[in-house]
Symmetry: C2
Subunit: 445 residues, 2 copies
């Protein structure tokens, strides 16, 4: 399967359908195509032309208000006034790099590290999740002397040359780099097992053994603790303990990718790894960190950073500049001031209950699962075979869009509805979403 | 030589000197050290604590105004009101990713591409120069099927795992990846030759031949057309023609890294490659593109992007978002509205004349060279041996700081003063800089 196809099948606009668009949209699509060429993907059969954002709403050029149940970047809400004000103020005051002193940067780093286990007391600030994972890989290689990395079969960790290699969900990862070893995601649905821990650990052990046989030295395991692109498997708290113990016994490091579950999204904890009571060797951060301002980071144990620094250097021009610190700080303050972790927990739980009710009415719904405001609704041909229904998922996402609700798709078969709204999602928004989904499933028949 | 040492010797703060600092600075240094650990470098024996920026000025917590003759990120001036306003306005309106339509993004891409040769009619937007070079390497590999890359001996192209390997000036590049081949920079000073073109081409040909012998397929040559970290060698316009023709004959692509010379800095042209009348296969952009807002990009020939897209995908969450487009657009508008290219040309020429006068008075000055507002002043033990004087350069940069002027250091021997101010530098600022430099050289004796 080519890369383009792999990606195109997930809720993508098909250029061949451009003739059916209204003139304004068609014109924008054509301008976009001219400058971005063929590799840039647009969502939806009728792409959305957006002009404004506000809380959980995205507003189109057509004046319609779309309920955002998809975007985790504007995590505390689109155009949050606190973040906008903080960034605007700092941009007008000072924006330079980290080779000069600037107090706001350390204040932010201290506040952020205070949310992590004590062992993770150093941080390197970058601009994106991809840069963060890339740096974590460099550190892992340096401290272990290894090159072998374990990831899940449909993981996505980012877009640099090195990180693409550990992102099997990206077509660009084919052919697989022989130093990358894949393990199945901890699938609670198809294994019909609540306790996926032992199986997950056994698979990690198998990968470690395979690496040994191939004389590849182990560097570590990279996982986001909600296995988002694999299909959203939060699992029972603590199920990863055994696997991570195996990683450490074999001399590898555990890199927790918090781009997806981090910053309070799971409702249960601030960090995905915290749900499992784990202390990673490195924590990589991105997307929600600055509510849209490009900022990323690697939380790291000091001994690892020191060992890396003995033979290498790292400088990131925009990374850790005062404006990104202002953005990051405003996000942390907003999470706290608006009790967004609690909100994610509460509204997430409410959503699961409501979605379970929907599931009872439609036999296409095989499973509802998630943690906080990160939910998956798995669509299947029938509940017995559990055969993935990609076509149904694609249709439902388009029908939701027609009902002014934005959702996404996850999983290797493209059959899992991904519900991942801004954390300020309220009960009334949950009701709108559930109603739209229920109506869409009815229409689908 | 370890990496840390490689970097530390270029104008870096030494933690062992922390005892001599005033209490506020010492406190900030300690806080920074606690959160960032040992790998993060600070400039100057007495690090600068900055609180405000304005045009060519950076203002310290001590109330002192420092003339910025170093920073090329805030290229149209620190906290430029037009850029601040554009970013603030767009942040308050809409900030989302490129999978929805957003007109400002295409307007920006069109405006930017209009400054480039017609052949480069596609662009991929990223967040940093490093991400851009990393993507360009992926594209080069995909379209050529090769892995061999030629760069200059002391090049710096960025900080990802893959890009570090083609950045020999970074200690992290040791040991050298065998697919990376080094050529000497086109040194006009030590070769005592104005026309460095034939020698540069001969070296590139040698590298191509070596690659062939080692059965490594050629992917391409990456160069910034001012050879900044090599020591700033703009050379005579057109000198690269022969070398680039060789690259193409051998099946490689030419990637112009415009992070340093681009966006009008050379005064002569908008782009570094334009000075040499070249049409690159890819142009990578970063630093000055958003005046501090994290944005980067790869300008690329459509056929290359299409070929890459046939087996790979690329998506960058923050890349090409509406806020970064607003920042980029404001920078282009400012360059035009304030005639900054012309200003760089005029003030650059004036600076060269004035620095030449200084050079006549101090025999430590071996060479003054540059293009527009990118200048190098090479300090040597004596003019005959041309032995690099690293200690003198380090002292002069510290003495300039004591005179409230910021400059940097370049080159493999750390003996070249790097003068690279915001493009709104005026004659009065040039006079302040020249006077401070002249005074510092006098004091040095």
């Amino acid at each position: 399967m080519t890369a383009t196809r792999k990606i195109l099948e997930l809720n993508a606009f098909d250029m061949r359908e451009a003739a059916g668009l209204d003139p304004d949209t068609a014109n924008l699509v054509a301008r976009r195509r001219r400058v971005f060429g063929p590799i840039s993907m647009l969502f939806y059969a009728r792409p959305l032309n957006l002009v404004r954002g506000e809380g959980v709403w995205l507003i189109g050029a057509d004046g319609k208000r779309y309920l955002d149940a998809y975007n985790n970047v504007a995590s505390v809400g689109h155009c949050h006034p606190r973040v906008v004000a903080a960034v605007s103020r700092q941009m007008a005051t000072l924006n330079t790099h980290s080779r000069y002193l600037s107090e706001i940067v350390y204040t932010y780093a201290e506040r952020l590290l205070a949310t992590m286990p004590r062992e993770l007391s150093n941080i390197v600030l970058t601009c994106t999740g991809s840069e963060s994972v890339d740096l974590a890989l460099r550190i892992a290689r340096a401290v272990t002397g290894g090159t072998g990395v374990i990831v899940t079969e449909n993981a996505y960790h980012g877009n640099t040359l090195a990180v693409t290699e550990i992102s099997p969900s990206s077509a660009s990862a084919d052919p697989r780099n022989p130093h990358v070893f894949l393990v199945p995601a901890p699938d609670t649905y198809r294994t019909e097992s609540k306790d996926v821990g032992p199986l997950f650990a056994a698979n990690v052990n198998k990968a470690i053994a395979a690496m040994k046989r191939e004389k590849i030295r182990f560097a570590g395991l990279v996982a986001d603790c909600i296995f988002s692109s694999d299909g959203i498997y939060p699992g029972e708290p603590g199920f990863m303990t055994e696997a991570i113990a195996s990683v450490r016994r074999a001399g590898g490091v555990f890199i927790a990718d918090e781009v997806q579950p981090g910053f309070a999204r799971t409702g249960e904890k601030m960090w995905g790894f915290e749900r499992h009571d784990l202390v990673p060797d490195m924590v990589v951060m991105g997307k929600p960190m600055g509510n849209g301002y490009p900022i990323g980071g690697v939380g790291v144990k000091p001994a690892l950073l020191e060992s890396f620094g003995a033979t290498a250097g790292y400088f990131n021009t925009f990374g850790g500049n005062p404006v990104s610190a202002a953005a990051g700080l405003a996000v942390l303050e907003t999470l706290e001031a608006e009790n967004l972790q609690e909100n994610a927990f509460k509204i997430g739980a409410y959503l699961v209950t409501e979605l379970d009710t929907v599931a009872q009415r439609f036999k296409r719904v095989g499973d509802v699962r998630g943690s906080g405001l990160y939910l998956g609704v798995e669509l299947v041909r029938d509940r017995k075979s559990k055969k993935p229904d990609r076509a149904a998922a694609t249709s439902v996402v388009e029908m939701l869009r027609d009902r002014n609700v934005l959702a996404g798709i996850a999983g290797p078969y493209g059959n899992i509805l991904k519900i991942r709204p801004p954390l300020c999602f309220e009960r009334e928004h949950a009701d709108l979403l559930v109603k739209a989904l229920s109506d869409s499933l009815s229409t689908l028949g």
